[in-house]
Structures are given as structure tokens and as C-alpha cells.
């Protein structure tokens, strides 16, 4: 699935839930199911700044695609992190860097979450895009035979 298709699927999933408690229930479930990050990556280097609860994000490159793993000390945050990872993991840096992200607004997360939480979500989005741009720049320079 493309990043766009994944976003559309998430929007559709959430549209079936009538009230915000149900939506939270779903987010919490996703948080509990989030595959755990390797403990060795839970270091200050991997912390995302701008989150009130702690979020660690790690990136791996496999066959030209970025794989994200993450964790948080707050389970709602973990659920939101899980949404992000579902959308972005398994795509090339170029796809991620060029993607247009609309599911956060479409689901209503930005208006319903507490401001600290939605700021954290935006920090995470920014960080994922930064990783992608950095990987993309690196692969471009390698293609051009230049050292980064």
C-alpha cells in the first residue's frame, strides 16, 4: 500500500467509531500492540523533543526502505506513535520525504488531542521526515559518487 492508501484506510477505520472514547480505545489498543523497540535504542539520542511524555524513535534501512520502531512511557502516545509507524514504515526515504500527510487532521486528532499531545505528534512527524530527507540526501550523494 502507498502512504496515501494507508492514510485513507486509517481515516476509514476511525470513521466507524462514533465517539471519542471509542477512538481512544482504538488508539490505546494500537499502543499496546506496538512492537517494542530494542532497549538499546531507548537513549537520549533517540528521544523526540517536544513530547510531554517520552518518545523514543529508531530508524533502520532495509532493502532501500525505512523501518521505524518506537516506544513511549504513555500508552495513548504509543498508540499515536503506532499510527505514524503504520503510515511510514516500509517506504523509501523519497516516498516519505515527498508524502503529503493529512490523516492527522482528517481523523480529528489535531483538534481533539490535548495541545501538548498534538504538538508531540507534529514533532514526531517532523522527525520522521527529517530522517527520510537525510537518508535521501545520503543516497543521492552516493549515487553521484560523492562522499557525504
Amino acid at each position: 500500500m502507498t502512504i496515501k492508501e494507508k492514510q485513507d484506510e486509517l481515516i476509514s477505520d476511525f470513521s466507524f467509531m462514533e465517539n471519542w472514547m471509542d477512538k481512544y480505545e482504538h488508539i490505546i489498543q494500537l499502543g499496546k500492540e506496538l512492537p517494542l523497540i530494542d532497549e538499546k535504542y531507548k537513549t537520549p539520542d533517540h528521544l523526540i523533543k517536544g513530547c510531554q511524555s517520552q518518545v523514543w524513535l529508531h530508524t533502520d534501512m532495509q532493502d532501500g526502505k525505512l523501518i521505524f520502531t518506537a516506544d513511549s512511557d504513555a500508552v495513548i502516545t504509543k498508540g499515536l506513535v503506532s499510527l505514524m509507524i503504520t503510515v511510514f514504515s516500509g517506504h523509501t526515504p523519497k516516498e516519505i520525504a515527498e508524502s503529503e500527510i493529512y490523516f492527522i487532521d482528517a481523523i480529528g486528532l489535531s483538534s481533539h488531542l490535548s495541545p501538548t499531545r498534538s504538538n508531540g505528534l507534529l514533532s514526531m512527524l517532523k522527525q520522521i521526515k527529517l530522517y527520510a530527507v537525510a537518508y535521501e540526501a545520503k543516497s543521492q550523494s552516493q549515487k553521484n559518487g560523492k562522499e557525504l
Binding site: 471519542w20 472514547m21 481512544y24 480505545e25 490505546i28 510531554q52 511524555s53 517520552q54 512511557d73 504513555a74 500508552v75 495513548i76 502516545t77 488531542l113 490535548s114 501538548t116 499531545r117
Partner: protein, 415 residues
């Protein structure tokens, strides 16, 4: 409702009181609001809102300056508020009441003026381990500036000050002690009479942060014999941006002024300025006139109900809340002081306080999560923060039942 105790404070007509507060009639997410964040700020009764409006419609004029009618009216109203605050605290004279922007502003004033007037390199300022940042940072800044040292009265696991350690810290180097009357993060009521007695035995003045005290219990500065006492208007049903500094006249006379400007001067020449007398010496610039007058309305509102009655009512609420909360599986209190007031801090299992707070919010229950501007307290307990429920005169037993049900629901989702 479960096990609601017999209401034994006949003076508290809770239905009537709740009707006095327009915001309590609001709904959030379509649900009746349960407002349990009163330690952060209280809601305002109609009389306070009316007083603000009345001032701007009928009285607005600058104080202490004009010969004209309105200015005299505004000045009289502003100075009447000072008299009301003085009698509320049982100060000897209205001149011992300085209007400020709030508790933080009051502490900054004393830290600055006391530092400049009284502190030499090597001197010591004592604070406690449970202070709000407002009663730490101004002293830290002053100590850095004066080459003095800040020392901390430690607390134990229950969130109570270790008084033997306090006594051991009292040396001739200590020049002032700044402690909170009631902890905003733990609800602990500190043994301030004992602290003041021990301090005065060594001629050390004491500042009490009463931001979480004056709205919950009778406070009498003469009976306490406290040197400085500070509080915020907005936590006692008054407007934001208002605050009070009480200081004994001999201390306020002795300390140098804080800010310079209009109103705090007697005469100004480019060579030398002669400062005004108390209380004006510490009130530079046009004050928050409407705020001070509306603060008087808030204090009169409290006096009308009777602060003793409020205390009796809230003690029942706190007891009931503790009793109900401790039946929630996995809930632990942060701070278990024998003598507590106004606020209860807790955590449930390893659920993050932000998660719990967010799900309570979605059920229409306003509580506070986080470090409550007391990071050293959270550091002491090795926790990222707590969930805090804090009470006011308009809090009901039903509010607490909704809180308990809300926590159970949220915890079931989050576990």
C-alpha cells in the same frame, strides 16, 4: 452516590453556592463539568464579575493622583480593598498589605528587596523540599546575585517536612526562611507555627507561601506572628493578575523598594529620589485597580460563607475523596500527610498521568496532571508527575463520585 456522609456543615448551601458561579453551569463535551483543578485556579462568583464590570462602567479612573470626583471614588474603592484584605488576614494596619500581581510577584518582591537590603555573601536562605518553583527560583536568583546559599529542609516519604533536620539547619548564617503553608503538589499542611517559633528564637524572619492556604482555612498573621505572607487573588475566587504581600510594618519599612516608578515616590529630582511611605513604596506604577476591587468582592464572598465553614466542608470532601480513591485497585497516593488540605495527588499502577488526565478530560472531568511546577518534588518521588484533584467551596460529593468512576473507566482502558 455511594456512602455519602451526612452533610454536617449547615452553613454551606451547596446548591446556592454553585449557582453563584456561572462557569460551573457550562458543559464540556456535552457533559456537566466536574472542575477539580482549583489549586491551579478557582472559578469566579458572579459578584466578582459584576464588580469588575461595575468598576469600568462607573468608577474607572487612576488612583492616588486626581483631584476629580472619579479619581477619589476609585482611590477610595482601591484603599477599601486594602482594608478588607488587612482585616481578612488580621493585619495590624492596611499599610502592611501590598497589592501585587500574584504569589510569584510577591515572592520576587521580597527576594529582591530582602536580598538587596539584608543578604551578604555566605548567608543562607532556607526553603523546603516541597516548594512550588515560585518559591525556589526567585531565591535562587537572589542567592546567585548576592553570593549567598540556598539550603533545603528535607521531607520524608509521606511528604512531610523532617522537623529535626529543619532544626539542624538553623544556624546564624540563615537570614530568611521561605516555606509553603500548604503544598500545591501534595496537599501537605506544614507545621508553620513550629517553624516560625524556632526561626524567631534565632531572630530569623519567615515568609509563608499561603497561595494554597487562605482559601481553605482561617489565616491570622498576628496569631501566626509571621513576617511575610503571600497569596494570589485568582486562587481565592478573585481575578487573575491580583495578589497580596503581607509584611510586618517594621520589615517593610526597613527593606529597600523593589521597582521604581510612579506612585512609589515622594519627591523626584535628577540628583535624588525620596521614596513614598508604605504601602505605596512597593506599588510602582498604576496598579490593577479593577482587580484589587474585585479581589475585595471575592474575599467578602468568602467571609460571607465563612472560611471556617469552607474549611469544614472541604475537610469532609478530602476525607471522602481519600476514602473513595483508595478503593481503586492500583491507586497510590503521592503524599500521605496526616494533615492535608485542598489537594490530593495520586497515580494508578504504572499508567502515565497524561493518559489518565486525557481520558478524564474526555469524560468532562478537569484535573491537573504533570509536575505541578514542583519538579524537585517529582524528583524526590522518582515519578514523571501526578494526577491531582483539588477542591473548592463549590465541590460536591457527586463531583468526587464522577472522578472515581472516571478513573475506574480510564484505568480499565489503559491497563
Amino acid at each position: 452516590m455511594q456512602n455519602v456522609p451526612d452533610i454536617t456543615v449547615p452553613a454551606i448551601d451547596i446548591e446556592k453556592i454553585r449557582k453563584d458561579f456561572p462557569l460551573l453551569q457550562e458543559k464540556v463535551y456535552g457533559l456537566p463539568l466536574v472542575y477539580l483543578d482549583n489549586a491551579a485556579t478557582t472559578q469566579k462568583p458572579q459578584i466578582v464579575l459584576d464588580t469588575l464590570m461595575h468598576y469600568y462602567i462607573h468608577l474607572n479612573s487612576n488612583v492616588h493622583r486626581g483631584v476629580h470626583h472619579l479619581s477619589q471614588e476609585a482611590t477610595a474603592a482601591y484603599e477599601n480593598s486594602r482594608k478588607t484584605v488587612a482585616s481578612f488576614l488580621n493585619a495590624r494596619k492596611p499599610e502592611e498589605i501590598i497589592f501585587t500581581k500574584g504569589t510569584t510577584d510577591s515572592i520576587n518582591l521580597i527576594a529582591y528587596s530582602f536580598g538587596r537590603g539584608e543578604i551578604k555573601p555566605g548567608d543562607v536562605v532556607l526553603v523546603s523540599a516541597m516548594e512550588h518553583h515560585s518559591n525556589i527560583v526567585p531565591w535562587q536568583m537572589m542567592c546567585e546575585d548576592r553570593g549567598a546559599e540556598m539550603k533545603v529542609i528535607p521531607m520524608d516519604e509521606n511528604g512531610e517536612l523532617i522537623m529535626s533536620e529543619f532544626s539542624a539547619l538553623l544556624t546564624d548564617k540563615v537570614k530568611i526562611i521561605a516555606v509553603t503553608y500548604v503544598s500545591n503538589s501534595l496537599g501537605t499542611v506544614n507545621p508553620v507555627r513550629d517553624i516560625i517559633a524556632q526561626a524567631h528564637a534565632r531572630n530569623i524572619p519567615v515568609l509563608l507561601d499561603a497561595a494554597q492556604a487562605v482559601q481553605h482555612m482561617p489565616v491570622d498573621v498576628q496569631e501566626l506572628d509571621v513576617d511575610f505572607l503571600v497569596f494570589s487573588g485568582h486562587k481565592i475566587y478573585g481575578p487573575t493578575g491580583t495578589g497580596v504581600l503581607y509584611g510586618k510594618e517594621e520589615w517593610l519599612d526597613r527593606l529597600p523598594p523593589y521597582q521604581g516608578g510612579g506612585d512609589m515616590i515622594k519627591t523626584v529630582t535628577f540628583a535624588k529620589t525620596i521614596y513614598n511611605v508604605l504601602p505605596y513604596k512597593f506599588e510602582a506604577g498604576t496598579p490593577d485597580i479593577s482587580g484589587a476591587i474585585a479581589l475585595e468582592a471575592a474575599i467578602k464572598y468568602v467571609q460571607q460563607i465563612g472560611v471556617e465553614n469552607i474549611q469544614a466542608w472541604e475537610e469532609q470532601l478530602v476525607d471522602y475523596a481519600v476514602q473513595q480513591l483508595q478503593q481503586i485497585e492500583g491507586l497510590r497516593f503521592i503524599g500521605n500527610a496526616k494533615h492535608r488540605s485542598g489537594a490530593i495527588s495520586f497515580l494508578v499502577d504504572d499508567i502515565h498521568p497524561y493518559d489518565l488526565g486525557e481520558l478524564l478530560d474526555k469524560q468532562g472531568i478537569a484535573i491537573r496532571t504533570g509536575h505541578h511546577c514542583a519538579e524537585p518534588v517529582m524528583g524526590f518521588f522518582c515519578i514523571p508527575g501526578t494526577v491531582r484533584a483539588s477542591f473548592a467551596v463549590y465541590t460536591t460529593f457527586e463531583d468526587i463520585d464522577r472522578l472515581v468512576a472516571g478513573i475506574k473507566k480510564a484505568a480499565a482502558m489503559l491497563r
